[in-house]
Amino acid sequence: MKKFAYIDATSVDTVPSLLGRRFGQAQVLAGGTDLVGELKEYIATPDRVVNLKSIPGLDYIRQEDDGLKIGPLTTLADIETSTLINDQYSVLQQAVSAIASPQIRNVGTIAGNICQRPRCWYYRSEDFDCLKNGGDTCYSVRGVNRYHAIIGGGPCYIVHPSDSAVALMSLNASVKIQGPRGPREEMLDDFFVLPELNIMRENGLRANEFVTEIIVPASKPNTKGIYVKVRERDAIDFAMASVAVTMTMSGNTCSEATVVLGGVAPVPWRVPDVEQFLQGKQITEDVASAAAEMALREADPMSDNSYKIEMTQNIVSQAILDLA
């Protein structure tokens, strides 16, 4: 690990100037479960680490008039065990409880989970000077791409690793961002960026910005959500494929739906076509399989990952049927 200095930030306002305007020179430390690994592998080599945990009051789960507010440093464990979230935003609770292990959930934070860096083994290895590490090759294209993207990839084919982001996007969540000129708010739909737009980052945060709140619109009546994650082991693993679905039902009919895929694209992959298709439909097996097929219509697998198409279709259809 490269030597660095650390600074305890004392307020939200001062963080942007501590971070500076150039990516890489400083990193925020929240839970640290992702950052420490990146530092150990020399993937991140900052001069400064800005500790956010020294700022009071960034850890909360609050129901307000316009919805749920989650502090950026709220741990995944606190979300997992929150009765408020379990009762009203169950899809988020399900997603969070499927993350890693108890030890990681006890320190990992919600903002950190959304902003974590990809788990692509080429990106994570010092030996590969890949696109995301400033090189000129995506090694997955001619290498082993079993766990890489089947949708939205190119020129880099990472999959976004976050489970919570998939669930939050299905809840139409947004994030509050602090920058040098004050706060701004962005829908998660717009927050994440594809590699074709920015190869070096997975989201629209500038170097001197950080997430200060997660905002989830109030839950609607007769609405349920489900998160299905496929992984090889029942703990520790990131998703091979996942899906978050929410549906508002009146009787057998779906009046509104959100469908977001995880583990298959460089960003949490929302499928608006499918959401529209489901609207007003009676949920039957045929409808669910048609929706599942539609969700993967754009899939363009690589040499080793075409299995993901059917796997993802299957969980999409299963999730829809489970909610009906």
Binding site: M1, K2, K3, F4, A5, Y6, L29, G32, T33, V36, G37, L39, K40, V49, N51, K53, T75, A77, A100, S101, P102, Q103, I104, N106, V107, D234, A235, I236
Partner: protein, 159 residues
């Protein structure tokens, strides 16, 4: 600027002070700086749980926490759990159930079990497996570990 930071913390009830580099993990500080070698390194990357400790009442992997982060905090390690004369019930049940073979993962499992039973004194087998899934054991197949945890819960309840 000095390259080391001064940290004060409470470890197993004792006030402890030390100097460490910012880049030294809590695991490194415990083992190399303070000599608390009961906390083990298995992967140094948060994937095996051998370095589990309880920080401010929460179970964490000490390899993913920096030493400086425990400033002013309360830490419990395996060294603070029971003594040879008076074992903690979890330790006693690990022995009775032969829930260890090589023993390298054992301190992590025992600390994790304590954290589990502190929160949930009467777990089911499924809950035990869920809450211990961050601790890898390569010797036992977990069978005897899970039994030891269930027996420890009973022993604590009956005591």
């Amino acid at each position: 600027m000095s390259s080391k930071v001064h940290v004060q913390a409470r470890i197993n009830g004792d006030d402890v002070e030390f100097l460490c580099e910012p880049r030294q993990s809590l695991l490194e500080v415990l083992r190399d700086v303070l000599g608390y070698t009961g906390t083990k390194e298995g992967c140094n990357n948060g994937n095996c749980g051998a370095c589990s400790v309880i920080l401010e009442g929460r179970l964490v992997n000490s390899c993913l926490v920096f030493g400086f982060e425990i400033q002013g905090k309360e830490l419990q390690t395996i060294e603070g759990m029971g003594s040879p004369e008076e074992l903690h019930p979890v330790q006693q049940q690990f022995l009775e159930n032969a829930a260890l073979q090589c023993g390298i993962c054992t301190p992590g499992f025992i600390v994790s079990t304590k954290a589990l039973l502190d929160k949930n004194p009467d777990p089911t087998e499924a809950e035990v497996r869920y809450w211990l899934a961050g601790n890898l054991c390569r010797c036992t197949g977990y069978d005897k570990i899970v039994r030891a945890v269930l027996d420890a819960a009973k022993a604590i309840k009956n005591s």
